[in-house]
């Protein structure tokens, strides 16, 4: 390759990159940063399977709410109401929701049980979903979308799993499609969650309503637990009384 051709090639590359980068600096760049697509072509570049996965970061939710508010000319109250409904739908108070859009123009995906095909890696540990859209269990050709939910808190300690996380990885098993089968262990999506600010979830009226909902649910759960424990205590007291009574009876003979 001559020097002239190299120069033309380099300049073209730089022009292309600058055009592409400026295009990506639009207002939608925040949304697209948390919404990632992996498109996998088959060997002859005709068929493909495309996974688009969205992580609902605070930054993403804020941008989404603002975009909707702007498009619909909502008042502040309407915006808060929408945010409240969105947060409630996402189950953010207890789960990490990930939205998956699949566009399959390859051999049908047969992913049942779908919960076994996906995992979320946080701080080097893998987590299985607590719930997912069951339609992913059915044979899939064409388009389908739905949520998959992972736990937000450690079951035993109650600590938030994302507390010290820097980069998290969502993986779909490579065995879900013949296009990827054997070639690749998994189809991965990474997000630098340390660049996000989850505290943004819990600001404004929507967050207050959400927190109220969460506290009411927690209150109910605690009351239920207290009832169960009280029942056990009562049973133990009754058993103790019976034993003491029998001991007294035996000693009195």
């Amino acid at each position: 390759m001559s020097i002239k051709r190299k120069l033309v090639f380099t300049v073209s590359l730089l022009c292309l990159m600058s055009v592409a980068l400026s295009a990506s600096a639009s207002t939608d760049s925040v949304l697209s940063r948390w919404r990632k697509t992996v498109k996998i072509m088959d060997e002859d570049n005709m068929g493909f399977v495309e996974f688009t996965v969205t992580y609902y970061s605070a930054e993403y939710i804020q941008a989404l709410v603002q975009k909707e508010a702007k498009a619909n000319l909502w008042t502040k109250d309407e915006e808060e109401n929408y945010k409240y409904q969105l947060l409630k739908t996402l189950q953010l108070e207890r789960n990490i929701p990930i939205f998956i859009e699949i566009n399959n123009y390859g051999s049908a995906l047969r992913m049942a049980p779908f919960g076994d095909q996906v995992e979320l890696w946080i701080n080097g540990k893998s987590y299985s979903p607590v719930d997912y859209d069951k339609r992913f269990n059915f044979k899939l050709t064409g388009k389908r979308e739905g949520f998959v939910y992972f736990p937000r808190y450690n079951e035993e300690t109650g600590q938030p799993l994302l507390a010290k996380a820097k980069t998290i990885k969502f993986s779909i098993d490579g065995g879900v499609s013949p296009i990827t089968m054997g070639r690749r262990p998994s189809i991965d999506f990474l997000w630098d969650v340390y660049r996000d600010n989850p505290d943004q979830f819990f600001t404004g009226k929507a967050a207050e309503r959400l927190e109220l909902d969460r506290l009411i649910i927690r209150l109910g759960n605690l009351k239920e637990q207290r009832g169960d424990i009280q029942k056990q205590l009562d049973e133990l007291d009754a058993e103790l009384a019976r034993i003491q009574s029998r001991i007294d009876e035996l000693q009195s003979k």
Partner: protein, 501 residues
């Protein structure tokens, strides 16, 4: 739920001929949602109603009672509006079309436990996939170089590929996968054979083991090529493959044995074993994602021949990806070979090569995706993934051996590929490659392609492509094996039907 909305949307549009943009009374249905208008129209007609708090909760499942209520109201309105017989027939057809989805939704709500039990039971059953490619090819310069595009004549209608995949979950940790297939890409009318057969199982410490005949493709895993342009991997191997993930990174190791065959290198389609070319195969890879922007991998492969002395060969490479954003990536790889016997007499026994890639998705520029690859082979560097000898198979998507004249001299490659997905049905693509050979008297080789794809359904695709290869005019040199270099040009028109299930 989405299918249901689609059904309701079509019912609304067919039966009512309502204005295109109905006001939507629900707070939680975004204006730009695809079902916004349909939901608004149905609400305006009283067919659907929201929850007491004014929300629609479009992502929540629907119960049978709700479904019955919606259907009854829709039928009542259709009757009231005196819908035509054709409209009602269309409604019936739509109901039939969406029956599985509606059934699934019903089961999901009412009998979820039993449905899940059925699904779990099905895990123990077989799953099948398949594909078939049928080609009609018309070649320009027939038999210019002993059938350049691998046709028997100047035209050919032929089954290009048939594959039947099957898998069975044996227990919760173990899966069996096999592929029965045939292909005419290397041998005409090859018999149907087991092209894959392997077990995947989980060992202690979450180590995944694959045993059998499998495919490894580390260059593809790193995103280093498109089409079928791998240099070393994208190859079958019999043996054992171990993988261990550490969250953001993973380590892989493999050991295998390749039984080479005298009339081919893939060991699948040919029958005469060439024991002199059998070799043990070893591989090691460590891949690590530092964050969402940067990843890095180290890879090594080794061939140790059973009966050939001083012929062992290894290749080591490092590769990386830097993502400027989710749609633009810069990638690179540096390869170094360690050869017992140099490919060029008196040449280097550790030649190197590299490639740099700019990968731009269509979302970045909106109208096209772009792949630009710049590669450089040093003298004596050879790639393994080839069927035609030398490096002729690399960059050979349509059959023409673009690198045939390379020999083992220094070679520079500039390769560009564009693809435009215009809508769900249509796509176009273009490829251009130029290879600059340093060998005296050998011209550059160029190859370009233009193609149109039509996705008739997600399962059936048609592809019309024109491919042209040009080796130049010079005839003064020979290739590495002493045969004459190629000159002139050739082209092919290919119409491919691809069916997947």
């Amino acid at each position: 739920m989405k299918k249901l909305c689609a059904l309701l949307a079509v019912v609304a549009l067919v039966a009512f001929a309502a204005p295109a943009f109905a006001a939507n009374p629900f707070m939680d249905v975004p204006m730009n949602h695809w079902a916004y208008d349909a939901v608004g129209q149905l609400a305006a007609r009283g067919i659907i109603s929201g929850y007491p708090d004014g929300t629609f909760k479009g992502n929540q499942p629907i119960t049978r009672y709700e479904m019955a209520s919606v259907t009854a109201r829709a039928l009542a309105v259709i009757d009231m509006e005196k819908a035509s017989k054709q409209d009602v027939e269309m409604l019936k057809r739509l109901v039939v079309e969406f029956k599985d989805e509606l059934d699934a939704l019903g089961v999901k709500v009412d009998k979820i436990d039993s449905r899940v039990a059925v699904l779990e039971e099905n895990i123990g059953g077989w799953k099948f996939w398949g594909e078939l490619r049928f080609d009609a090819k018309f070649e320009g310069e027939r038999n210019l170089y002993n059938d350049e595009y691998t046709l028997e004549g100047d035209k050919e209608f032929n089954l290009n590929r048939f594959r039947l995949w099957m898998s069975k979950q044996i227990d919760e940790n173990t899966k069996f996968v096999a592929r029965l297939g045939t292909s005419d890409s290397t041998t005409k009318y090859a018999p149907t054979r087991w092209e894959r057969y392997y077990l995947e199982t989980k060992l202690p410490y979450d180590i995944k083991m694959t045993a059998g005949l499998w495919l490894y493709d580390w260059e593809w895993d790193s995103g280093l090529y498109i089409d079928e342009d791998a240099w070393f991997t994208d190859a079958g191997m019999k043996g054992f493959w171990f993988q261990k993930s550490f969250g953001l990174g993973d380590v892989q190791a493999m050991i295998g044995h390749d039984d080479s065959y005298s009339n081919g290198a893939d060991g699948i389609f040919n029958t005469v074993d060439d024991v002199n070319s059998d070799y043990m195969f070893y591989g090691l890879r460590a891949n690590f994602n530092f964050n969402e922007q940067f990843r890095f991998a180290l890879n090594g492969l080794m061939r140790a021949y059973d009966d050939l002395n001083n012929q062992d060969e290894s290749v080591y490479w490092a590769d990386f990806t830097f993502n400027f954003n989710p749609n633009i990536a810069f990638k690179g790889a540096y390869f170094m070979e360690d050869l017992d016997a140099p490919k060029v007499t008196g040449g280097d026994d550790s030649p190197s090569a590299y490639k740099a890639i700019l990968d731009v998705k269509q979302d970045a520029l909106k109208f096209t995706s772009i792949w630009i690859e710049y590669a450089k082979f040093d003298e004596g560097f050879s790639v393994w993934n080839n069927n035609n000898g030398g490096d002729a198979f690399a960059y050979d998507a349509y059959g023409a051996s673009v690198l045939y004249n390379r020999g083992y001299d220094d070679t520079t490659i500039l390769f560009g590929s564009l693809k435009q997905q215009w809508n769900d049905k249509w796509a176009t693509y273009e490829r251009y490659l130029t290879a600059d050979f340093d060998a005296t008297g050998v011209d550059d080789a160029t190859n370009w392609t233009f193609g149109v794809l039509y996705y008739y359904t997600p399962a059936i695709t048609f592809d019309l492509a024109y491919d042209k290869v040009d080796w130049g005019d010079s005839t003064s040199a020979t290739t590495h094996d002493g045969t004459a270099t190629r000159t002139g040009d050739d082209n092919i028109v290919r119409f491919r039907t691809h069916v997947k299930f």
